[in-house]
């Protein structure tokens, strides 16, 4: 089982790598919505989705490709944790 903290840290790494950002732990605390990271780059979120799928070896079902899941770090972490724990239980 992965803890939410572990998953959260890995998501942060994916965000920095996929979006080519150089952020510190504190910077993430100030981010209320993930779209703040995307700026004018309309395709950045696809880079993030693909990055997450590669990192966690999962596939995000089309049903969950929505703004609710990708709203902020908490919603994304909760979703990935559920997926990972389900995967571990299989």
């Amino acid at each position: 089982m992965f803890t939410e903290k572990e998953i959260n840290n890995r998501i942060k790494k994916v965000i920095m790598h996929s979006l080519e950002l150089n952020l510190h732990e504190d910077d993430f605390l100030n981010i209320k919505n993930l779209d703040e990271l995307f700026g004018m780059d309309s395709v950045a979120i696809i880079e993030l989705v693909i990055g997450l799928e590669q990192e966690f070896k999962i596939e995000i079902h089309p049903e969950y490709l929505n703004s609710e899941i990708f709203k902020n770090m908490d919603t994304l972490t909760a979703y990935i944790s559920t997926l990972m724990n389900r995967k571990m239980g299989e």
Partner: protein, 314 residues
């Protein structure tokens, strides 16, 4: 800062189209509206001498060294006729029954689309602004191939009159929403997530390669001049591996043809920036070829802004 003009003379045609003509088109039988459309298109293409000349000037560059250079006068008139007919088609498109629509459409290369869909990665259709696009999309939706269109919300041009900004533009926007029902606005939050969702559902997404609705534009040689083309969609291709099929839709509500070409074979590269710069040009060449074969069907041909700065060949 917005214009202080209440009404501009050039708003008259938009006013006539969006109010009396649109209302008449909801009452009269479709065949009569079509006849009215033909008449209006004929008058417009005959009287718009300045636009015709400007189109001819562009066509001379496009067709230099070819036999078609002798047909520029005829083609320029046809460009204006088709453009005006497309506006009338927009008024009656939703009124045409499925049965009638299926009778007047022809598809070529459907096997190319089906082959691409068999990869289960969705398909990105790349098209230009051709006359038959909207009727083709309705037709394809009716036969089980709904297409997600990418659109831009109307913007408030500071030069617009108050009447156009407050009344005419919203009516045109509503009319357009009724015609193109399956769409996403590029201004929407997470709009590219909706594109990914459609592709993951093995659906179709249409990208107008001659639109400039992109945060990343690249200049390419085009029809004897240079033009900016959107590049971001190629990042989506690079990331998702979705096949890309060039689509051409020509004709109108009475008779139209949809052509699906074979999936584009992209040059493989080591990084996405190189992938975009190498392959965008390939897609632009396909569009160019479609325009050269069907010049009067390409709607931006009539825009004067597209034509300026073009030197007539000596």
């Amino acid at each position: 800062m917005s214009s202080k003009k209440i009404f501009a003379l050039r708003d008259l045609s938009a006013f006539f189209y969006l109010l009396p003509l649109r209302m008449i088109a909801t009452i009269l039988p479709v065949r009569i509206v079509r006849s009215i459309g033909v008449l209006i298109a004929y008058i417009y293409s005959t009287l718009s001498a300045r636009r015709r000349r400007a189109i001819e000037k562009k066509l001379m560059v496009v067709f230099k060294d070819t036999e078609k250079i002798n047909e520029t006068e005829k083609i320029s008139k046809q460009c204006l006729f088709n453009a005006a007919s497309t506006y009338i088609n927009d008024l009656i498109l939703h009124r045409i029954s499925k049965k009638d629509l299926l009778k007047c459409g022809k598809i070529m290369g459907l096997e190319n689309l089906e082959n691409a869909l068999s990869a289960q990665k969705g398909v990105i259709l790349v098209s230009g602004h051709f006359c038959g696009n909207r009727v083709a999309k309705r037709f394809l939706s009716e036969i089980g191939f709904p297409i997600l269109s990418i659109r831009k919300k109307p913007f408030s041009n500071p030069a617009m009159s108050m009447i156009k900004r407050k009344y005419l533009q919203p009516i045109r926007f509503k009319l357009f929403n009724k015609i193109v029902q399956d769409y996403v606005f590029i201004e929407d939050d997470y709009f590219s997530l909706k594109i990914l969702k459609r592709l993951r559902e093995n659906g179709l997404v249409d990208i107008h390669i001659d639109a400039r609705n992109s945060s990343h534009l690249i200049e390419c040689a085009f029809l004897g001049t240079k033009r900016l083309f959107p590049a971001d969609f190629l990042r989506i291709v690079y990331l998702t591996g979705a096949p890309v099929i060039p689509m051409l839709c020509i004709g109108n509500c009475s008779s139209f043809t949809i052509i699906f070409e074979k999936s584009v074979e992209f040059h493989k590269t080591s990084n996405k920036d190189e992938f975009i710069s190498v392959n965008l040009n390939k897609l632009v060449r396909i569009l160019e070829s479609q325009i050269v074969h069907h010049p009067s069907q390409w709607l931006p041909m009539k825009r004067l802004s597209f034509i300026h700065n073009v030197k007539t060949p000596s």
